[in-house]
Amino acid sequence: MTESNNHHELVFWRKYIFSQDHKMIGLQYGITALSFMLFGFSLMLVMRWQLAYPETPVPLIGWLLGDDGILLPEVYNSLGAMHGTIMVFLGIVPLAVGAAGNYIVPLQIGAPDMAFPKLNMASYWAYFIGGVIMIVSFFVPGGAANSGWTSYPPLSVIATTGQTLWLFGMIALITSSLLGAINFIVTIVQLRAPGLTWMRLPFFVWTQLITAFLLLLAFPPLEAAGVLQLMDRLAATSFFMPSGLVVSGQILEASGGGSPILWQHLFWFLAHPEVYVLILPAMGIVAEVIANNTRKPLWGLKPMIYSTIFLGFMSFTVWAHHMYMTGMGTTISAFFQTTTMIISIPSVVILSALFISLWGGSIRFNTPMLFALGFLPMFGIGGLTGLPLGLAAADIHLHDTYYVIGHFHYVVAPGTIFALFAGIYYWFPKVTGRRMNETLGKIHFWGSIIAINGIFFPMFIQGLAGVSRRMWDGGAGYAHAQDVLWGNEVMSIAAGMLMLFQIPFVINIIRSIKHGEKVDDNPWQATTLEWTTPSPPPHGNFAALPTVYRGPYEYSVPGRDKDFWPQSDPEEGA
């Protein structure tokens, strides 16, 4: 009783700034991450201008870049590295895990909050500090980090100060993720409502659980690597610096004896699992939305769950498929090619199960469902184009070309980001009690899916022709690239369009908070627990802790008059 009284008296900064309520923290994560994504995208628009119209002044913001407004190669490198870093570590992961996971997981498992609310708050603020450090790094001499988001040494070790800040920023972000991961796992294992057995857990919760394990166990080696690189930069050690390195015609003063390849091992030990961190929550969201809008149980929920677990484990064993070109021996290369082929199986299982789930459903084509449906073929393209990269022979040709950029952007942009959009449209009524506008939503979807394919499809064509990534001139200096240079302008115009088509989305969100159509607590007639509590849920989430009686997707159960059967409905039999 006293508890609930206290909560009404919470002063502004305890309620909105240093909140310990998972819903407020989720929203903080969401707003911060969306802002960073917009920022990361804007960096890329500037770069795309240069690629389409080389060495012409950048419109609107050109004055930021110097007198003549041209994007210089050094700055291009900074923007590229920071685009990658911001999108991955400050955009997608915080949105998929920090925001969606934080807000929805406790609700879906019938818990009053996360297991450790203070830790949750600390996790957000560590993320925030990491973000601030990354932003500040743009203003130090030499600009932000410019050695790619992969920060490969020796380049990164001799790079300008921005790289040091990048490393500190990463350590803050890693800390944030570790705290978050511990919190998620404990919450899911310990705070499940009575009756919510493992096989009754919604698929979204499963994906968050596996994601948390990946973050927990894959990030520490990168933290170790970050510390080592900091030592290399600040204490002049040579963990990653080979002997006798020649820089600008001079032998570099360093004790030497280190190995650049060591960094790559440690980096990719994290960064491969990281791509599953980017994709698993997205699959979870898509599964929820598809089950709800086909009004059918998911086809093959159990195989999907087992596939997710297997995927999580296997993702620790494939990392060196990013390193075929480092001169690795054939034995190790054969090993990593094999594991890479094996890990594609569970992804295919999950994607196929989602496709088959559509079969025979009476599909409601609302905005969340459109984005979820868009995810399926886009992720399919992203995944399938990854296979050749997993085979060393093909990778010799494709490595470090725009083909790679095309491949993983299909996975993360029209893949993960579309899933996240689906999630935002789907759960918005839970957060606000109002639904987002359908017309604006549909404009957002159709505009985005056309534009985004216009950006990323030509990348495959350029990449197959051999255009390298990270090129300031977009391949203009390559004889063999002349036939595919048309792609640059197409991609850049499409990128501009993509930006324009986000305007209806932003308007929609802002407008719907106050003026959206008012809806009841369960506007999508869904089965999972988050829909049994008021919108927005009060502090503590549930008036009385729910009990769970059945699986997560009991839609259209024969013999019942309603076509959905909430998990917490105690009624017996059909």
Partner: protein, 197 residues
């Protein structure tokens, strides 16, 4: 009314309270942190044309002494926890205090070792071996420092909880202990790897 369940009592099907699972997850991530560093060590050493024997550069007797100190502090840490289980708050404070003092002693010895190396012009930048030595022991020392802060808090202001919620406080000391023993355990591997091999 306590809102979040299983903060003190164990959940029936998992047999644990939240903090217990939490600390073990944290320690698992620490295993991977130090595991990554050890892997880096092995990787560099395998590739190096020559590698010095630790004992020829570092002082084995000093490190042996430090090892015994750290093991000793683990024992006193365990005793401070059992003291709480026996409802003996005075004994708890005594043992935890000794644990903290031993930890400080460890750091003092460590910094003596460092300054010894510096005075012989051995720095992290001197060789890959020295780089590994300083980085690994430095990171370990930071963990010790963290442990001192946590234990210091539970010795001082944090111990107020003993009167309000003794069971939860006892759990907290158990958790702090698990962390402390882990730091000890890491040293048990660092010692031979750096000094003896």
């Amino acid at each position: 009314m306590e809102m979040i369940p299983y903060t003190v009592e164990a959940r029936e099907d998992t047999g644990m309270n939240n903090a217990k699972l939490g600390i073990w997850l944290f320690l698992a991530s620490e295993v991977m942190l130090f595991g990554g560093l050890f892997s880096a060590y092995v990787f560099l050493r395998l590739g190096a044309p020559a590698w010095p024997e630790g004992g020829s550069i570092l002082s084995v007797p000093i490190a042996t002494f430090n090892t015994l100190i750290l093991i000793g502090s683990s024992v006193t840490m365990v005793f401070s926890w059992t003291a709480l289980k026996e409802n003996d708050f005075g004994k708890y404070r005594l043992y935890l205090g000794v644990t903290i003092l031993l930890a400080l002693l460890f750091l003092a010895v460590k910094s003596f070792e460092y300054s010894e190396k510096f005075s012989h012009h051995l720095y992290p930048s001197s060789s890959t071996f020295m780089a590994i030595y300083f980085t690994l022991t430095g990171l370990h020392a930071l963990h010790i420092l963290g442990g001192i802060i946590v234990n210091g808090y539970f010795w001082g202001p944090g111990s107020k909880m003993w009167t309000s919620d003794p069971e939860r406080f006892t759990n907290r000391i158990e958790i702090a202990g698990l962390y402390w023993h882990f730091v000890d355990l890491v040293w048990i591997f660092l010692f031979p790897v750096l000094y003896l091999l």
